[in-house]
Amino acid sequence: MAPRPAARGPVARVLARPGPRRLALACAALAGLTAVLLVVQWALVAAVVSAVFAGRATPGDLLGALAEALAAWLARAGLLALRELLAARTSARTRHEVRSELVGKVLRLGPALMAGEQAGELVTTATEGVGKLDGLVARLLPGAVWAAVLPPLLAGTVLVLDPPSGALLLATGPLLVFFLWLVGTLAARSAREQWTTLGQLGAVLVDTVRVLPTLVAYGRAGRSRRWLADVGEAHRAATMRVLRTAFLSGFVLEFGAVLCTALVAVTVGVRLFSGDLELQLALLVLLLTPEFFAPLRALGADRHAALEGRPAAERVLALLDLPEPDRGTAAVGPGVPHVRLSGVTLRHEGHEVLTGVDLDLPPGSRTALVGPSGAGKSSVLRLLLGFAGPDEGSVLVDGVPLAALDPDAWRARVAHVPERPWLLPGSVCENVRLGRPGATVAEVETALARAHLLDVVRRLPQGLDTPLGEDGARLSGGERLRLALARAFVKDAAVLLLDEPTAQLDPDSEAEVLAALDALARGRTVLTVTHRAAPLALHDRVVPLEDGRTAPAPVPGPAAVR
């Protein structure tokens, strides 16, 4: 009878994880204990005050009761600290898990995800977005449990002690919760708008910093500052609109709670005056009244965190809920496979990137796919890497659809050298090992030597262990490319996909790299996309690609003549 996960709200789904669930139980137990201690503590205080007031005893006679009241008070402080510690631990653990899940999701979805999601927004979701779940787990959840357990217990106690005051509390409490809900619903609606504005402001900031060099070069930095100031002002105005409503719930709570305390004080005072009530009892009721509202008020203060947490939870869960492409499970056969694209059509944002493409890549063939930029060459590579699936037609590996193969096993057999390879911020060695994590240092060096990069690497301050800085800041364009080639060498894959392998090289390096590629290509299937003449010499077939269409018959390439 448990509801399906998708039917629940995002906040409920976050709080229904096993960690928060255990936290809720622990908090309920702590709240029960706290209620008992509160009644004991204030009863003792009321007894001491009324005895001294009536002149029945001096404080010295009541030392024992005073000490007991203080002990109860201290124990309560300890329980509260314990609650905070448990909550913080659960929250940290939960956010760790959610972040791990997000990373796993991003990896499983692959670059296909990035087509729709902005990188900056994804980072915001994983960092700040998940960070805001802390408000839900560490503050809202314990606060809500406290508010659910403590006030009913205290109101029940007051009802037994002094029915009229108890009835007043029981009437005001639910009324307050109702108003809280009413105002909170209004605030939640505008918080959602604010989140969008906030995200946009973040994107503007990041974008402005990213393109600052260009803005400065074109003398536009001053204008972007003014623009940013405008965005900031819009953000302030939007936030204040939300806060005016959000603080309203705090106002309602505060107003109700304080007014109720005042009402209890006045009615109890009048009944004392008419002799219907004992001072000790009246004092205890007066002391318990603020304690009845305290958890509700604390929850009201934490609602702000919940308001921020809900859209964050929505974004995080939306990302985790993204449908994953079916991961094939079929094993990839040994040897160099026969790869074939048959009648493949690929659409992106409504228009056809590839239309009915046929491409046959027999084992050991070397094919060059040539065409102007924008012709769809890179899309063919995305298909072959399994980062995209064809909308029509099929990609076959030894006659098996690529989608049926285990994608990790398939990618382990394919080496891809992108036009602008991304380098990790780690060392040279780590970057080469991305090709094959288990490679030995000797294998890494051999791969670097075959990519004509070993001499350059040896000249670096720490050789193989030199950190490359972000995105290989220490290397020139040609060197980065050769590093990516070294990655392919160390991988020893059956299929080699090259994207403009020599576009950024000078003629000498180009010749060196082509020689290296010739060696690398031996015994493998090679597909190169290029618009340059030089790499064509490597290939035995040239397939023109224009406007997403292949020519009916491939042209024999220079290597075929040899």
């Binding site: 005050v49 994804l122 900031l205 990041v206 060099p213 309203l248 618009h531 064509l536």
Partner: protein
Amino acid sequence: MRDVLRRLPPARTALAVALGALTVLTGAALLATSGALISGAAQRPATLLVLMPLITGVRLFGISRAALRYAERLVSHDLTLRLVARVRADLLARLVPLAPAALTGARGGDLLARVRADVDELQGVFLRLVAPTAVAVVAGGAAVALTALVSPPLAAVLAGALLVLGVLVPAAGLVAGRRAAVAAGEADAAFGSDVLDLLRGLADAAGGDGGARARTVLEDSLRRQEAAELASARLLAVTTVLREAVPAVGVGAAMWLVGWDVATGATNPVLLAATALGVLGSFEAVGGLGAAWSAAGGIRAAAGRVRALGEQRPAVTDPAAPLPPPTGSALRLESVTLVHAGGRPAPAELDLAVAEGEKVALTGPSGAGKSSVLALLLRALDPDRGRVTLGGVDLRRLTLADVRARSAWAPQTPQLLGGTLAGNLRLARDDASEAELRAVLADVGLTGLLGTVGLDGWVGESGERLSAGERARVGVARALLSPAPVLLLDEPTAHLDGATTARLLDLLAADDRTVVLVTHQTADLDRRWRVVELAAPAGGAATATAPVPRPVPAARSLGAPAC
């Protein structure tokens, strides 16, 4: 931190603090008058009228407190948002002189995490530090003074308890929390950078080892993040115990001290319950400080990082007394040597003269420092030795704005704004007409984009809806559109097919403007171009060989079999 505090608007700050203090005092007064009311009622005076002032007080405090709190929260949040917007704008202003040279060196993901999270963290400066402190001083002081009217010893105890809660506990929290907060901030920033690294290199990571290495790195920073958070939480738990326990001492002291006064008949019994409850209420003045100050470490660290970011020394600065811009646009590098930070080979003793209107192509092997020459001409960098002149004047004697107004720069990987195609092009010239935009796109062979993206179409974040080649060509088009008399183009033809390359080079050669371009494909250049070859880096430095008059090959089309 101090420069953030300086930006606080005094009037709004005073208003927010006054409202906050009044809220606290109203709450304490409500409890005290309630206590007095029921004690007075228990004495059963002759008529209820005796109690009327107390009843009125209880009602007044009960109604006004919520309104005061609401106003205080609005004023203080508005103030905070204004403050942060100001900090953000100033930070950007300080980053501008650092671009383009220094920003490319910093770890971009780190920079991103810093600018966003740290500026957000600074929201706490007023809300979590200044306001609670000021309210504690004002409201706490008033409560102690009022208590002294009833019992001076109790006032002393109350003052002591308030000091323990407001000063001792926060100070201890500050010392203990600093390290935890710095560690947590660093762990957060590291995780943000890791995620950005993963996203940027997603294809390479997923295609390489299925993301196994990226996951290991991320798990590691996640573990550090969790450990840092737990350390902070333990500190917070200790302050919670103190925050809850110290008021017990105050209330206990009130019952003891005023109780004896009542027992000895020195004090009106009605005041016993009133002071005990009033003391209980006045602890609200410092109740928030314990938790607030433990955040101070994080806020201070963020403020420090923001300041450090703004205080980085720019690679190039405006001269104190700039010369007026020269009339000519001839460029000269005179015995220029550049020592790169990473010890990379760079131009050494390089001499190069580019006459006005001349077309110069820089070639040479990878790493010879070709792009660095463009950076020197644009004055993104200053030479370590030698000088660079524009119209005979050393670039360092001119304002940066004047130098950059003279040259349009298209880097190898141009940066596109997340905006429209037209917006990106008009960055170079605001008043370019639509026809001019179309023409310049045709010049770089991008007419196709008009059909797919369109001039007013969104190019995506960082222009990701365009291919790498298209982005590079938009960068070239932008430079072509610029009114600057000097064009500095880094590999403008790397992404072009043969026919478009020939057309662009022809167009550039026929242009009146001075053109300096970096290229590997010298075969495409005709006699209108002077080819300058930068020598291979030998002994860590690159030098220009004497420009040799080249035989003129006919411009030939590349990729003939394909296109």
